[in-house]
Amino acid sequence: MSENGQPHIAPLKTYINVFVALMVLTVLTVWVAFYDLGAFNIVVAVTIASIKAYVVVLYFMHVRYSAQIIWLTAAAGFIWFVMMLALTLADYATRGWLPFPEPW
């Protein structure tokens, strides 16, 4: 939202550029999947997907030109999801690290 209350209208070129970037990243994610990176295949795949999502949020969803409260709401959704994922995996990934005590 610009100062005069009128929304920012991005030029056509911006949208075309974003589309091309998303296409390039799509090709990249398929191409890189055919290489054996061990445990990093999933890391690379999710990183590329996150960059794509970020670009969509910034430009297609206009967050770049939006009020701060929109930034905050978008970030809150993302952060809460990451918390849910991180805490759940921290549990499941570490099960069995310590010997389970004998039942009594």
Binding site: P7, M61, G77, L89
Partner: protein
């Protein structure tokens, strides 16, 4: 504002200004989308836990999905996001004709996506990979490119392949349902645009539908690598 009705028709009574109204609808939509993140997030977290636990079975199960169809649909859906963004831009410029054209293009691309999904689902049905009592999968340990043999496989290997397909159908199914709803909303927008309900000052429904559509696009951006590209080298 003496009679309380000296405001333009597109400005609802309880807002001070058009921009306040616009920001309120954006905020409301973003809160809805944050809730949608939680909804799909639950599925993604469950998927992550089981993929971590049964990564061999998930890798094998994923290799039965077609990268070509998945990649094609990714391109189609991102393209539909572009046409949707251009529909919103046309609304900002007050170009009624272009709004309708871009919305029709978006609906067309959405139908292509769902058609491809239909082809994929039909293939999985014929291969008996649809979860439920008809699910049937014979592990062929000699043919796998994934390092899993009859010795290293979990005793319930087939069950874990079954689980992958449960995730596949629930996640892509919920995603497809969102798209069907989106198509319905876009048809409603076209009717409204046809009746000249949108202007340079008022186009919130087009913009909010755009946000929804891009969100659905983002869900697929994550679904594609997570479901189709588990183990391809």
């Amino acid at each position: 504002m003496a009679d309380g009705h000296s405001h333009p028709a597109h400005l609802a009574h309880h807002f001070d200004s058009v921009e306040q109204q616009r920001e309120s609808s954006s905020l409301g939509m973003w809160l809805f989308l944050a809730q949608e993140v939680m909804f799909f997030g639950g599925l993604f977290v469950a998927y992550a836990v089981y993929r971590f636990k049964y990564h061999e079975a998930f890798a094998v199960a994923s290799s039965h999905l077609s990268i070509a169809w998945g990649a094609l649909n990714t391109v189609v859906l991102i393209f539909s996001s572009l046409t949707m963004a251009l529909a919103v831009r046309a609304a900002q410029l007050g170009d009624k004709k272009k709004i309708i054209h871009y919305l029709l293009a978006t609906i067309f691309l959405a139908c292509v996506f769902l058609g491809v999904k239909g082809i994929e689902y039909t293939g999985k049905y014929h291969d008996q990979l649809v979860p439920g009592p008809t699910f049937h999968y014979e592990p062929d340990f000699d043919k796998y490119t994934v390092p899993v043999t009859a010795e290293t496989a979990h005793p319930n290997f087939t069950g874990h392949v079954h689980l992958f397909y449960s995730f596949y159908f629930v996640m892509t199914g919920m995603h497809a349902l969102h798209m069907v709803i989106g198509i319905g909303i876009m048809i409603w927008l076209i009717v409204k645009a046809q009746r000249g309900r949108f202007s340079r000052e008022y186009y919130a429904p087009v913009e909010m539908t755009g946000l929804y559509w891009h969100f659905v696009d983002i869900v697929w951006i994550f679904l594609f690598p997570l479901l189709y590209l588990v183990w391809r080298h």
